[in-house]
């Protein structure tokens, strides 16, 4: 798609808006429809659109396969770390009240961190599935 001017310009204009919308779904998930999973899919769709328009080499130079795998593991580790904070203090798994002194603040922080981990993992898994569709010659 080197010589298609209109999709390139429209994509350049629309990708910041897609990422902003993904972040809105991520951080406003407590109050309206949305959450980590949906935000991850939206952010990954923005990145996949960039890969389709500008070529896979440019996309891989921004976010390589190793980086994708690392980020996806970091998301899961964030989730598990928040979950084990409760067990360490003698409460249940994913007990948000144990995170901070104030119970309400602890709930807010816990939901925020768990949704952040879910969003990170889901977006990177979606990008990795997209990479594996483009048979990259045993690089995966």
């Amino acid at each position: 798609m080197k010589h298609h001017t209109i999709p390139r310009i429209v994509t350049k204009l629309i990708i910041p808006l897609i990422l902003l919308f993904g972040l809105y779904i991520q951080f406003h998930g407590d109050y309206s429809a949305g959450g980590g999973f949906q935000a991850g899919v939206i952010i990954a769709s923005g990145f996949i659109l960039y890969n389709i328009i500008f070529g896979l080499e440019v996309g891989l130079s921004i976010l390589s396969i190793n980086m994708t795998k690392n980020l996806m593991a970091i998301g899961i580790l964030l989730y598990i770390a928040v979950g084990f904070m409760g067990i360490i203090q003698g409460l249940n798994f994913l007990e948000y009240n144990a995170l901070l002194d104030s119970s309400k603040q602890g709930q807010l922080l816990g939901i925020f961190l768990v949704e952040l981990g879910v969003g990170l993992t889901v977006s990177n898994v979606m990008i990795l599935i997209f990479y594996s569709f483009n048979n990259l010659g045993g690089k995966l």
């Binding site: 919308f21 779904i25 309206s32 769709s45």
Partner: protein, 88 residues
């Protein structure tokens, strides 16, 4: 007394029906893709207008997601057919 948004929903539904017939009776593949894009745009409008009817308030987010997926899927399908014509 008929509300204005119900009239608009009926008109857009008629236009949606015409787009579906255009999709069914199209012969070239590019006409079919254009008709798919038209149907998607009209469904976005219908989602937004049905948000004015009910008590649910977050239909705008769903309409935005639908418009985004409509755009991306159109580009992907066009790229697929372009690559296939290049290989033939």
């Amino acid at each position: 007394m008929i509300e204005a948004n119900i009239i608009v929903i009926a008109l857009i539904s008629i236009a949606l029906l015409m787009s579906i017939f255009r999709f069914i009776f199209a012969e070239e593949i590019y006409t079919k893709i254009l008709a798919t894009n038209l149907i998607g745009t009209k469904i976005v409008l219908l989602i937004l207008l049905s948000g004015t009817l009910s008590v649910e308030k977050d239909f705008t987010d769903i309409a935005l997601v639908y418009a985004l997926i409509n755009f991306i899927s159109t580009i992907v399908i066009l790229k697929y057919y372009e690559d296939r014509e290049k290989h033939q």
